[in-house]
Structures are given as structure tokens and as C-alpha cells.
Subunit: 306 residues, 2 copies
């Protein structure tokens, strides 16, 4: 039976750490449950999850724990693309065996200036080694950070060879022209997600599937409302509302600011913590964040009770 | 007893793969033995080793196997810097427990634009978690690939806090002015290695320790001769000789060309193989490489008998 591909809003779920900087699976599950209530699905182990500051073992443990704690794997699109093919295979296979509906896969990102031929071989080897009919891969294009782009020509080659497996792409380039290239690819049932809700209305108007956005960690309800109502008269207003929140968060180091927001609204200082090489917000930044959130009347309804 | 810090020439040893693309520990040990005979020490798991295309498990297995096969851990400076702190701690601890004389440590390289504060915290956490008096860390500055630089200010802070642990740095920036900054840091017994033998004579003349260079995989004898004789009248001529070989290899994708050279001189086609996302030399490139090596009379003495 073909897998129902993702659409809508997904949050690259931020990862809480305990005082010894180990990932905290219970708090992660709490945040996931709140996000699900707000209408988003769960792109755990994304860039904003500090996924690349976690080992494969830590990710496997967290994924197991989320499912054990009742998170429906049908809502999960874990990031499973690592530098090493062997790691990507192991983590992807585990995710699929757990029943995750798809995975978000970075290209191998250490070596720079690699060819499309080499990237094709990388994805192809992973697909063949995982060897699971259920495998649904969403490619992850984030050149500002990974520095290894996924060209439309590479997508085309992969979709042509693996039409049942290559399910879509997340475009975090911040370059609308690039997103358009994917949207106009003409690939059947191929799901294009923008990497920021700033492009959500435009993405939907051009046949896209939704967005996977950092700020969905803190503003999931409004982003989801925009996605649901993109064809309505209210859509432009909704877009402006989510843009305002996005712009505010972009004044801060994003990941630390998202976690600080969860800490503040959930009244749980554990959430301030990040793993090196990231750093927590300074006390001055925290103050600015709190004041700004109060000023614009920002809310995270029900977070503290979750 | 203080650890004797590295000096001289180290090869970032290329890693052979079997037909299933798994690392081949026996061939790796063979190549290590040949390199040791030529006077170099062994920076296994460097960039040119495709280390970041290997999982931590694969690296641990290879390291164990090298020592089991008789490679003296005193000759080993494995690369142990991963994206995830937990991986770096695990691999570094294992290397030190095996008796490796030092480790070469990349900064966490996924997140870009991180602060010196965050990088300091990263190295500091690793040092504290490994918690071994024998730990000797050589920092690894390779901004063209890692895209996360190690500033002289960061080195200074680390050396000041951990003078017995921070043993040196490899500078693969290709920027001589940057190397000079490290050389003029005034840190006691701090070992500066250039990342290319092109800078070896200059590095030694300014108080450096040696070089850790890709081409030491194929031209170790001549590079070692230059290092030994850097104060002699012949040094300039030796520098020119190694420069010629280096320039020749720089016309090709470096890692694939190094492996092809080992394959050709060792009469062992297994060595042509690379892991994705890298690609092997094309047949035309192989032909050019072979012809060029013949033309300049290049030799790898004793390789095929190793």
C-alpha cells in the first residue's frame, strides 16, 4: 500500500538537554504532544533540533522513547542524513522499522564541492541498503548551513530512478526562485516544503505541500491556520501575522531563542540549554526576547499544562 | 610523565574500501606500515582519509584493528572531532585508551557562524568528559571544508586553560599569514603543523613542528627528507622537488588521485574505490594521472612489496 505523503506544517522539534547536556526524552515528548495539538507534524532531528550535535545512538534512543511514550510514528519525519553513509543507513532503517512515515535527509555535508554524481550515489546507496518499500525520503536542501546543495537536476535523477521513495524536498535556501524550480519540476506527487513560513502562502499557491519551519516550534497554531486557509480571503492577513512573529525571532540566534521561548512560556528553565557549539541567549538577549514577546502579545496556549 | 608531542611529517592516511564499500583494515595497515618505513607518522581519519564518511563504530573498529595488526599507537594521531560532542568524546576516549599519542580534532562543523565561546565550550566539554591526563589534542583548522575556523584567540584561550592537553594545531587554511599567527602565538611547546608540504620549509624556519599533508600518502620519503634537512643547504632544492609533486596532484580531485596512485603503484585496484559523496577518477583522469606520473619519473619505492 502506498504511503500517504506528508503535507501541512511540520516543526523541526527543538531538543531539550538535562544538566549533564544529555537529551531529555520526556520533555521532548511533552513538546511533541503540544505541537501535535496545534496541528503540526514532527520533523524531529532537524537543524533546529541540534540534530547534528547528537550521536546516532542518542537519536535512536530518542526516537524509540518518543514512540514508547505514545507519539504516533505516522506523525514523525526524523532527520536521518549524516556525513557517513553507514550512519544514514542505520538511522534511516531504524526510523522506518519504527513506522515513521518518512525521513528528512541531508546530503553528506562534510566534503564540499562534491558532484551531483557523488550525491546521487550517496542517496542511491542509502536507498538500496535500507531496502524498504515503506521508505519515503524528503530531501533536505539547506545550503547556508550544509553548504552542499541539492540541485533540481539531482532531484530529477533521483525521482526518475526512485519514484516511490523520493517523496519531496524541504527548501531552506531562503531563495524563492530555487523553491519555484522544485515546484515546477513536474514530478508526480512530489511534496515541496518551504523552510520558512514566510514563503508558505506562495508555496501553496504554486502547488507546494506546506512548510517545515523553525518557528513552528513556538507559533504552530497560526502557521497551521495559514496552511489550512491558504485559499481563503483571510490568507494574506494570516501570512502577515506569521511574518511578524518570524521577523521578531530572526533578530535572535534562532535555536537558542526558540528554546528560551519554550522555557519562558513553559516555566521550565531546562529548556534554555543548548549543546555546544551553540550558546544560550545572554541574560540581555533573554530580557529583550521576553519584553518583545510581551509587547506583541505573543502566546503559546496550553504550553505550560502540556 | 609528559607525553612526547608529535613533530615531523604525518600522513592523513587514505582509507581503502572493499567491494561493499566497507573499510578494509588489512589494506589500511599495509599502507600504514609502508608510510612508517618512509619516516612519517599516521594521522588516520583525516579529511583525506574520508574520515567523515565513516561512522564512529567503523573508526573504532579500524583503530582497534590497526593496533592488533602491530601498528604502534605511539605513531597514531587519529582524527576524532565529530559534529556531536558525544561522538567526539567516545572516539577520543577510545583512542587515548588504546595508547594513541594524540588526536587531531576538528571543531563541530555542521552549525556555521558559531562563536568562539561556543567552540571553546565544545573543546572544553570534550576534554573534561574524556578526563585523561594522557590526552593530547591537536586542533584542526580547515576552513575551506569544515567552514568553521579556529582563531588564534580561541587557541590562546584553550592553551591557557588546558596547557597540558592542547598540544598543537594543523593549519589547512592554505593561508600562510594565518599559519604565521599560530607560529607567533608564543605558546610553550605548542606544535604547529602546516597542512601542505608547500609551506614546510617556511613553517620550520618559523619554529613549526612539521606538516600533515595529503600528498604524504604518496610522497612521504621526499617530504620527510625535507623535514629532516630543513636547516641544510639542500633544503630549498628539496622544497622545490616536493612542490612539483604537490602541484601535479592538485590538478586532480585529491583524495581520488591519491588512492588511484596507491592502486597503480601497488597494483591493487581495490584502492581506486572511494565512498560517496566522493567519486573515483574517470578513466580519462586515470590515464592522465598515470601518464603524468611516468613522465616525471615518480616512484613509490617498495609499495607493491609492503
Amino acid at each position: 500500500m502506498p504511503v500517504d505523503r506528508f503535507a501541512g506544517v511540520l516543526a523541526p522539534v527543538v531538543t531539550p538537554f538535562d544538566s549533564d547536556l544529555n537529551p531529555d526524552a520526556e520533555r521532548l515528548a511533552d513538546h511533541c504532544r503540544w505541537l501535535l495539538c496545534q496541528g503540526t507534524n514532527l520533523a524531529v532531528f532537524g537543524t533546529n533540533s541540534e540534530a547534528n550535535s547528537l550521536s546516532v545512538e542518542e537519536k535512536i534512543h530518542l526516537l524509540d522513547s518518543l514512540v514508547e511514550q505514545g507519539i504516533n510514528p505516522d506523525s514523525l519525519m526524523p532527520g536521518t542524513g549524516c556525513c557517513a553513509m553507514s550512519d544514514s543507513v542505520r538511522l534511516t532503517r531504524h526510523a522506518i522499522e519504527l513506522g515513521c512515515r518518512g525521513v528528512l535527509m541531508l546530503p553528506p555535508f562534510y566534503y564540499k564541492g562534491v558532484s551531483d554524481e557523488g550525491l546521487y550515489a550517496s542517496y542511491s546507496e542509502i536507498i538500496q541498503r535500507v531496502a524498504a518499500d515503506e521508505l519515503q525520503i524528503y530531501l533536505y536542501h539547506i545550503p547556508p548551513i550544509a553548504q552542499v546543495p541539492i540541485s533540481a537536476a539531482l532531484v530529477d535523477r533521483l525521482v526518475t530512478q526512485y519514484p516511490d521513495t523520493i517523496a519531496g524536498i524541504k527548501d531552506s535556501s531562503g531563495d524563492w526562485q530555487n523553491t519555484l524550480t522544485y515546484l515546477q519540476g513536474g514530478w508526480e506527487n512530489f511534496r515541496v516544503f518551504c523552510g520558512s513560513e514566510s514563503f508558505l502562502l506562495a508555496t501553496m499557491q504554486h502547488g507546494g505541500a506546506g512548510c517545515i519551519s523553525a518557528t513552528a516550534n513556538v507559533n504552530p497554531g497560526e502557521i497551521h491556520r495559514l496552511w489550512e486557509a491558504w485559499q481563503s480571503a483571510e490568507a494574506i492577513g494570516y501570512q502577515q501575522q506569521v511574518d511578524t512573529v518570524r521577523s521578531f525571532f530572526q533578530e535572535f540566534p534562532m535555536i537558542a531563542a526558540l528554546k528560551a521561548t519554550v522555557a519562558i512560556f513553559g516555566n521550565d528553565p531546562t529548556w534554555f540549554r543548548v549543546r555546544p557549539p551553540l550558546t544560550e541567549l545572554s541574560s540581555e538577549q533573554r530580557h529583550q526576547l521576553t519584553a518583545g514577546l510581551q509587547k506583541c502579545g505573543f502566546q503559546m496556549p496550553g504550553l505550560s499544562e502540556s
